[in-house]
C-alpha cells in the first residue's frame, strides 16, 4: 500500500437509486493494486449493483469512482480498462473458444492473428489449449468458467471483476477453482474484485473483505479481522457460526466488562468504548471456543443440559440448553487428539469459555 500510487479503485460516497428504491447508500471504499478484494453479503444487498457500477453497466446516482486516480463514473464500459467475468459467463455461442478469448484484443485493434496468438497463450494458462476450436456449448460448466476467465484476462485489464463466478460449479470443482483463481491473481498481479455470498469462499480467498448488507458497508478488513473482531451483530452472525447472548452490563473494571446473564450468572469480556453499566448488549461467542466439563458438586459455572450432538464430519456440534434460558452451540473437533470432552444427550454439564472468546457487540 504505497502512498504515492493512487488506489486501483476508489469508490467515493457512491449512491445508487432505482426510482424510490435506494440499492446502495453512500458507499466509500478503496481497493489497492494487486489486491484480491471480496464483496460479501446476503442476496439483494447490492454487490452486483456496485460491481456493475465499476464495470460501467449502471450509472452512479451520486458520488464518484476513480481508477488509479482517474474519474471513470461517466465513461462507457468499452472505455474502462476493467473486464468482467459474468455470473452466467456470457460466452459468445457462435464464436470458437479461441475467438471468444481473442475478442477483447481484436476490439482493442490487434490483428486477428495477434489476438489469436495471445488467446492461445491465455488458454494454455487455464489449461484449455486442446479445446481452442470448440464452441462454448461443447464444454462443461467448469471449462466454460475458465474460458470466461481467460477471455476477461486476455486484454490485461487493470481490474478484473468477478460476479459469483463459481456459484454454478459443484463443491469439489468450486474448491479447486478457488485455489486456481487465487494463483492466477498472484501470477498476473491484476486487482481482483470478487463477489460472493459464500462467507467461507470469501475467507479462503481474499486479502480484504467488505461485508455488506442492505446497501450499506458493514465492515471492511481481512479475514481474521472480520471473523474474530466483528464490528456488529450482523457481521458476527453472517460470518461463520456464533452464539449471540442478550446480556446486561453490570460494571466496567480495568478494561473488562462484567455482563449479567440472568439467574446470578455472569460472563466477562473486553469492554467497548461508550458502553457503561446498565447497557443492554449482546455477547458473541464462537462455538469452537466453548467446551464442556462435568458439573461440580457446588453447582458452579454456566450449567446446562445437552440436547443433541450433531455429527458434521470434521466437527461435532453439541446443542446445550443453559439453565439461564439460552441455547448455545459448542463445536468439538472430531479428532482423537482433541482434548475436549463429549457428553451424551441429557447429561448435566458446565459450559466453559476460552480466554477472550466473548465479544461485546452494541447493535
Amino acid at each position: 500500500m504505497s502512498s504515492e500510487r493512487p488506489a486501483a479503485i476508489d469508490v467515493r460516497d457512491a449512491v445508487k437509486r432505482y426510482g424510490d428504491f435506494t440499492a446502495l447508500k453512500t458507499i466509500s471504499l478503496s481497493i489497492q493494486d494487486n489486491e484480491f478484494f471480496t464483496l460479501l453479503g446476503p442476496s439483494g444487498c447490492g454487490k452486483t449493483t456496485l460491481l456493475r457500477m465499476i464495470a460501467g453497466f449502471e450509472d452512479v446516482t451520486e458520488g464518484a469512482i476513480y481508477l488509479h486516480g482517474k474519474e471513470i463514473a461517466k465513461l462507457p464500459p468499452n472505455k474502462r480498462p476493467v473486464n468482467t467475468v459474468f455470473q452466467n459467463y456470457a460466452l459468445f455461442p457462435h464464436l470458437s473458444v479461441l475467438d471468444n478469448v481473442g475478442f477483447g484484443l481484436e476490439m482493442l485493434g490487434r490483428s486477428r492473428t495477434q489476438a489469436r496468438a495471445r488467446a492461445g497463450e491465455m488458454l494454455e494458462l487455464v489449461q484449455l489449449s486442446q479445446f481452442a476450436h470448440r464452441k462454448p456449448a461443447q464444454l462443461s460448466g467448469g471449462q466454460q468458467q475458465r474460458v470466461a476467465l481467460a477471455r476477461a484476462l486476455a486484454p490485461q485489464p487493470k481490474v478484473l471483476l468477478l460476479d459469483e463466478p463459481l456459484s454454478a460449479l459443484d463443491l469439489k470443482l468450486r474448491k479447486a477453482m478457488q485455489i486456481e483463481l487465487k494463483h492466477l491473481q498472484r501470477e498476473t498481479g491484476i486487482t481482483f474484485i470478487f463477489v460472493t455470498h459464500d462467507q467461507e469462499e470469501a475467507l479462503t480467498m481474499s486479502d480484504r473483505i467488505a461485508v455488506m448488507s442492505s446497501g450499506e458497508l458493514q465492515q471492511l478488513g481481512n479475514a481474521r479481522d472480520i471473523y474474530e473482531h466483528p464490528r456488529n451483530m450482523f457481521v458476527a452472525d453472517f460470518i461463520g457460526e456464533t452464539n449471540l447472548l442478550a446480556v446486561t452490563v453490570d460494571r466496567i473494571e480495568a478494561g473488562r466488562a462484567q455482563c449479567h446473564l440472568g439467574g446470578g450468572q455472569s460472563l466477562g469480556c473486553d469492554a467497548v468504548e461508550g458502553v457503561g453499566a446498565g447497557a443492554k448488549v449482546h455477547l458473541s461467542i464462537r462455538p469452537e471456543r466453548l467446551f464442556l466439563t462435568d458439573t461440580t458438586p457446588e453447582g458452579e459455572g454456566l450449567t446446562g443440559r445437552v440436547v443433541e450432538n450433531i455429527y458434521i464430519g470434521t466437527d461435532i456440534a453439541s446443542l446445550v440448553d443453559l439453565d439461564v434460558g439460552f441455547r448455545v452451540t459448542i463445536r468439538t473437533s472430531n479428532s482423537e487428539r482433541g482434548a475436549k470432552r463429549l457428553f451424551e444427550p441429557g447429561a448435566q454439564v458446565v459450559v466453559n469459555m476460552e480466554q477472550g472468546a466473548a465479544r461485546l457487540l452494541v447493535d
Binding site: 460501467g56 453497466f57 459474468f86 452466467n88 456470457a90 457462435h94 476490439m107 464452441k135 461443447q138
Partner: protein, 268 residues
C-alpha cells in the same frame, strides 16, 4: 413414452386426425397427379406426360405467366427484404429499447394486421391509394406487400431476440467493443436464424397473396395468384395444375429450408 401418448388416445381421435389430413392433402395430391396427365381432361387419366409443363413455358399463355412470375418473385424478394429490415429494427427497439411508454400497445400494433381479416386490409389499402391519388400498378402492389409482410417477418425475429440475454452485448462492450461492433459481431450473428426465418416467411406470404394484390394491382399487372385466378375463370386447363404444382414444390422447399434454418443454433 407410450404411457404419455396413451393419455391422448381418446376414442375416434386417430380417425379424426386421418380425416383432417385427408381433407387437407387429397386436393393437393389430385392437382399434382393430374398435372402429369397426358390429356386436356382434368378428370380422366390418360397416361404420364410433361406436356403441360412444356405448355407453361412455351404455350399460348406462356408470355402472361412469365411476366406474372417475374412480378411475383421480384415483389416477394423486395417486399420480404424491406419488411425484414424494418422488422429487425422494430424487434431491436422493442426488446432492447428498455421500457418505454405504450410498449405493449406498440407490440399489438405490429402484430395486429395478422389477425385483421385480409379483405378489410385490402379495402383499406385501396382506399388509401385512391385518396392520395397513387396510380395502381407494380408499385402499389409492392408497397402493400411490404406493409403486410412486416408483422410476419417480425414474429420469428422478435422471438429469437427475446431468447438472447442482454449480457452478451454487455460482455462485448466490456471487452472494448463499441455499441455498433457489439451489434455487428455478436447480436446480429446470434439473431441471424430468426432473421432468415422471418425473411422466408415474409417471402412466402408475399408470393402467396391474392386478396390484397387483386385489390391494389392495376390493369395489366398480374402476379401468379391473380394470373391463375384469371385463367381459371375461363375454365380450368391442365397447365394451371402444372403451375400450381411448381408453386407447391417451391413453397415446400422454402418452408423446409426455413424450418431447418430456424433450428440452427450455431453453437455446435
Amino acid at each position: 413414452m407410450r404411457v404419455g401418448a396413451d393419455r391422448f388416445a381418446f376414442p375416434g381421435f386417430r380417425t379424426l386426425t386421418f380425416l383432417c389430413l385427408f381433407i387437407l392433402y387429397a386436393p393437393l395430391l389430385v392437382v399434382t397427379v393430374y398435372s402429369f396427365n397426358d390429356s386436356r381432361s382434368i378428370t380422366t387419366w390418360e397416361g404420364f406426360s410433361l406436356r403441360w409443363y412444356v405448355d407453361v413455358f412455351v404455350g399460348p399463355d406462356s408470355a402472361k405467366f412469365k411476366s406474372a412470375a417475374f412480378n411475383s418473385f421480384s415483389i416477394a424478394l423486395i417486399a420480404a427484404s424491406v419488411a425484414t429490415a424494418v422488422a429487425t429494427s422494430a424487434a431491436l427497439a422493442m426488446v432492447r429499447g428498455g421500457r418505454f411508454k405504450l410498449r405493449t400497445a406498440t407490440f399489438g400494433l405490429i402484430s395486429l394486421p395478422i389477425l385483421v381479416p385480409e379483405i378489410v386490409t385490402a379495402v383499406a389499402i385501396l382506399i388509401f391509394f385512391n385518396t392520395i391519388g397513387f396510380t395502381r400498378g407494380y408499385m402499389t402492389i409492392l408497397i402493400a406487400h411490404i406493409a403486410f409482410c412486416i408483422p410476419f417477418a417480425y414474429l420469428p425475429i422478435s422471438a429469437r431476440m427475446q431468447g438472447i440475454e442482454g449480457s452478451f452485448e454487455q460482455a462485448a462492450m466490456d471487452l472494448y467493443a463499441t455499441r455498433a461492433q457489439a451489434f455487428r459481431r455478436i447480436l446480429l450473428p446470434m439473431m441471424m436464424p430468426g432473421i432468415f426465418a422471418g425473411f422466408l416467411l415474409a417471402f412466402i406470404i408475399s408470393l402467396d397473396d391474392f386478396i390484397i394484390t387483386n385489390f391494389v394491382k392495376g390493369a395489366g399487372v398480374e402476379t401468379l395468384p391473380t394470373a391463375i385466378f384469371g385463367s381459371v375463370k375461363q375454365g380450368i386447363r391442365p397447365n394451371i395444375m402444372a403451375i400450381s404444382t411448381m408453386l407447391l414444390a417451391f413453397s415446400t422447399v422454402i418452408v423446409t429450408l426455413s424450418w431447418f434454418i430456424s433450428r440452427i443454433d450455431r453453437t455446435k
